[in-house]
Each structure stands twice: as structure tokens, then as C-alpha cells.
Symmetry: C2
Subunit: 314 residues, 2 copies
């Protein structure tokens, strides 16, 4: 369930007018911008961009970039973009810092539906004049490169068929490869980057049945290098991305100095999808409402905007 | 230029009637089948399939499979399928014999436009309930697997921008990797499977400028294992697929015992695309018209059908 509260009937020209008044002249009326943009779905935001461009002959995104600043600007910018374009931007930023941010690339590749991932690859072409895999490959190397390129280029079969004996067989391959960190890592890459999600869930379940521990827990005991860390993220995203995002939010908020990038990323990418479910998981796990945690850790327009996307009226 | 001769105005129901008469009862009128199907483009063939199914409540393809036999049946079957489906079938057959037929997988991945390759991956899902890369990876290993998976999963940028210094830089990486067969093969895989075709042409040209030999000739001097052979095919297909196909035809026809699979594959996949150009290249290189070579090497309905697709009226 989404947390976004958007009106059914919507008048793009009126919104464009309000936004124009909010940005024209000296000073900026950030509250009006949040009130509008924080309550419009992806299609409505695109209509506003078009209407704004028609009436005022300027690009709304560029204008907002020049009016806003800091984490608020960053969050608003990511929010306004169409989903495929937004993921292309998130991927590109992560790629240029791939040794630290490879988990963002893994997330995008493993959480999205195969068709959505193709749309991101299209959007990446249009925006960066390179292919997504080209840039990922240029900024990484070794097994990490193989894994990341394998994941972003995957076009998984999305049917529900399961081959149980294959699941058992490949659960053992994963086990052998992980347990002493000297196993056949290419097989780990092959399995994670080519099998369907349904088949992989069966494999992860087989793993638990056979070895009395979940593969993600096992990896936590073993994790030492970036490759296995990326494998860990991939499995978590493939297995249960809501639980994974709850953890990202938890880590982002409990750090000394909040991880604004992580916080923003989860809120803007999930607000229209399943942020409500993620919020519930967060409350279950932390006994604190995420809105309260967010309100405590960040401030100003950035805080108001994220709380709006989280569905909190104030 | 295509070799296919198809009428502008076309009446699917009439064609379906003729085909029905050709297959019903004892015996089969292969000539009528060739006259019709050998003169219809992809869209027309699909309309005939639909009309036939509507009127006679049976699948034309299945009926033809049971009526025809041998290389003629195989060629007709591949020809009738829509292009994406046909490539999916060709890929699947090749995958199950990947240690011998990896060149077919390379061809499909490197000759098709990036969007066409995506359509093939879609068709593969629908037909085989697996992803293309999943099956490729399951039947291969080592560097050959990495290369083949990289190629079939690529979604190359198809713009015309070239980075000349990158071309020079990567031409040298390729040279170092190939020359003693101990170089960094992962870099070869990265370059061939992620760069745009335009960029790769610039790289191959740089190679020739820097090393006074084309990279394909150099590879011929070095080729020893399947991996480098697959690299050779990939570069030929990326560089100039028409020249590559001319060679496939030449080899198919000059072998003791014709290579019918190669011959059929080139004719049915290129008849509606650029088989006329490939025919011209063939004549230039061999001083023999390909129709004459085909007529000498094969016989019967298979011969009649291929000659029809080659544009020869008889």
C-alpha cells in the first residue's frame, strides 16, 4: 500500500499557477510547493511539468533546483522525475561511487520487476548516452563487476513455475560457495542473476531446510568483502524487499548523523508503491513510528516534505 | 535489400484455402505451399496463420510439420515463425548444443538491433518459461559463458556518439589481451558486451591503425580455443554482419556434405532484410551466383524453397 495522498480530480494548470507564485520574485514559498508536489502521483506530476512548461515557458525541475537547496532539493528533484528516469539518476550517482554505493545498484536491479528494469535501461540510454551495464562495468571490476553487470542486465522470467529439485541443487551450490569463501563464485553470480524470483525463493527456502539457517544469516556470519556484501543485499532484495527497506530506514535513522541519501531514496521510491507496508514493518521492529523517528532526526522543509510523503498530515 | 518477392495486395483467406487444399487428404502439394509461403512477408504470413486457424480450426504450423519433412520442413517452420519467435527457437536449439553452436548465439546477440534482441528475450520467456540468459548460463561455463551471457543480455546504446580516445585505449586493451592469449579476458568481455556498435567500430578501426592488421585477422592467427573463436564471431558480426553471413554461406556450401542448418539459417533470417546485399558479396567473393551453388548442392523441395526465398523465379 502506498502512503501518498493524492486527489482524484486534479487541475494541472491550477497547480502550475500555484507553483509559479511560489517561486517567482524574491524568496520561495516552500510550503506551497510541498503541499502541491507532496500530494500528486507520478502521472499528475508529469501533467504539472507539462502545464508549467506550456504556460511559463520554463522547465519546472530546473526552476525548483535553483530555488531549493540541500536535502530538500535533492528529495524534491528525485520525487518529480518519472520512476524510470529517477532510477536512472539513482543508478548513475551510485555507479560513480560504486565501491561504496553498489548496494543501490543491486537494489534497483533486484527489487524492480523485469519490465521496469528494462524501462530504466531505456531511460539511462536517453539521459546518459551510454548503457547502464556499460557504466557499471567501467567503474567496477572482478567478481563484483560480474555480479552487478549480471544483475542490471537480467531480464528474469516472471512466471510462477518452480523446479524443486533444481532449487535443492542450487541451494547446495550456494552453500558450498559461501561457506569457506573459496567456492565457485561464478555459480553464485549465475544463479542470482539469471533465475526467476519465484525459483530463487524456492532455492532460499531449500537452503534453510537443508542447513537450518537462512542464507542471509549465514552470509552475515561470513561476510568479509564487497562481493559477498553485494550478494547479501541481492538476496535480501530478491527475497523480501520490504523487510530490506525497513532495515535501510532503520540504519539511516539510527546512525550518528542521519543517512539522508538512504532515507530519501526509500521514501521517494516507495511512497507510491508499498511505503505503508514498510512503515508497519518499521513500527513492528522498532516500536517507534517512523514519522516520529524522522521528525526527531531531520528538520525544516526536508522534514515537512518527507513527512508528507510518509502520509502524515500536519 | 531483401530478396523476398511478395505481393502488395494479399488475401489471407484465399491463401489459407490454397494451403488447405495442398495439405488435405493423401499426399501433399509442396509446390503450392512454396508458391504461397515463399512469397509472403512476415505480416502476411501471420495473417495467413490466423485466417487458416479461423477457417479450419487447426494450427497451420503443426499441420505443415506433419505434412513436410527433413530440411524442407525445418526451413519452412523457421520461416513461418515471427522473427522474434524464430530467433528464440534458433537460440534454444543452439544453447542445447552450445559447445558446438555458440556462434549462433553470438550471431543473434551481435547482429540484431538492441530493441530486436529484447523482443527475442521476451519471446524466449513465452516459449520456454526461462530467460534466455538463464539457459545460456546453464549450458556453458568459464569465460565462454561470461561472454555469451554478456552478449545476450546486452542492451547497447544505439546513438552515434564516438569517444575517439576511448576507442584507442580499448583497442590497446584488446590487443594486449589477445596477443599472448594470457591477457585480461574479462576486459575483452566487458568491451564487446557493453559498448555501442558505433563505438566498437571506432575501436576496431583504431586497432587497425595502431597495429597494421585488423583485429579479426589477428584473431585468426591466434585462435585456439572456443572463447577466442566466439570473440572472433562477435567482432565479425558487430563489424560487418553481411560479410560475416557471406562467409557462413560459403562455408555451408563448400563443405563436403552441405551444412543445411547454416544455409537455412542465413536464408530465412535475412531474406526479408538484406539477403540481396549478401548475395552480391557472395558473387564478388566466389565468382559464382549463390543460386547456382545452392542448386548444385541441395535438391527437391528444400532447394525449390530456398531458391524462392533467394528471389530466383523458376
Amino acid at each position: 500500500m502506498s502512503t501518498l495522498v493524492a486527489p482524484k480530480n486534479h487541475f494541472p494548470k491550477d497547480d502550475a499557477d500555484v507553483l509559479w507564485k511560489a517561486v517567482k520574485g524574491w524568496g520561495t514559498d516552500e510550503s506551497s510547493i510541498i503541499d502541491i508536489m507532496g500530494h500528486r502521483n507520478a502521472a499528475q506530476r508529469q501533467q504539472i511539468r507539462l502545464a508549467y512548461n506550456d504556460i511559463y515557458q520554463e522547465d519546472l525541475i530546473k526552476r525548483l533546483e535553483s530555488e531549493l537547496s540541500g536535502d530538500f532539493e535533492k528529495a524534491m528533484y528525485r520525487w518529480i522525475l518519472e520512476p524510470a528516469e529517477r532510477y536512472a539518476v539513482l543508478a548513475n550517482v551510485a555507479i560513480r561511487n560504486a565501491n561504496k554505493d553498489y548496494h543501490v545498484i543491486v537494489e534497483i536491479a533486484c527489487v524492480l520487476h523485469p519490465d521496469e528494469l528494462l524501462s530504466v535501461r531505456h531511460a539511462y540510454h536517453n539521459r546518459y548516452k551510454h548503457s547502464l551495464e556499460e557504466d557499471v562495468a567501467a567503474y567496477t571490476n572482478g567478481h563484483l563487476r560480474q555480479l552487478l553487470v549480471g544483475l542490471v542486465t537480467s531480464f528474469r522470467y516472471d512466471g510462477i513455475e518452480i523446479n524443486p529439485s533444481l532449487a535443492k541443487f542450487e541451494a547446495n551450490i550456494l552453500h558450498e560457495a559461501i561457506k569457506d569463501n573459496k567456492g565457485n563464485l561464478e555459480e553464485v553470480i549465475r544463479i542470482l542473476s539469471t533465475r526467476s524470483k519465484t525459483q530463487l525463493l524456492a532455492t532460499f527456502n531449500s537452503y534453510r531446510d537443508l542447513h537450518s539457517i537462512s542464507i542471509t544469516k549465514k552470509l552475515l556470519n561470513e561476510v568479509s568483502d564487497d562481493f559477498l556484501k553485494a550478494v547479501h543485499v541481492a538476496i535480501r532484495c530478491l527475497n523480501d524487499h520490504k523487510k530490506y527497506y525497513e532495515k535501510v530506514l532503520r540504519n539511516a535513522l539510527k546512525r550518528v548523523g542521519t543517512d539522508e541519501d538512504g532515507l530519501t531514496r526509500v521514501v521517494v521510491t516507495r511512497a507510491e508503491k508499498d511505503l505503508k507496508d514498510i512503515k508497519e514493518l518499521y513500527y513492528k521492529r522498532n516500536s517507534v513510528h517512523i514519522e516520529d523517528a524522522v521528525a526527531k532526526e531531520i528538520s525544516g522543509n526536508y522534514k515537512r516534505f518527507l513527512l508528507t510523503l510518509l502520509g502524515k498530515e500536519h
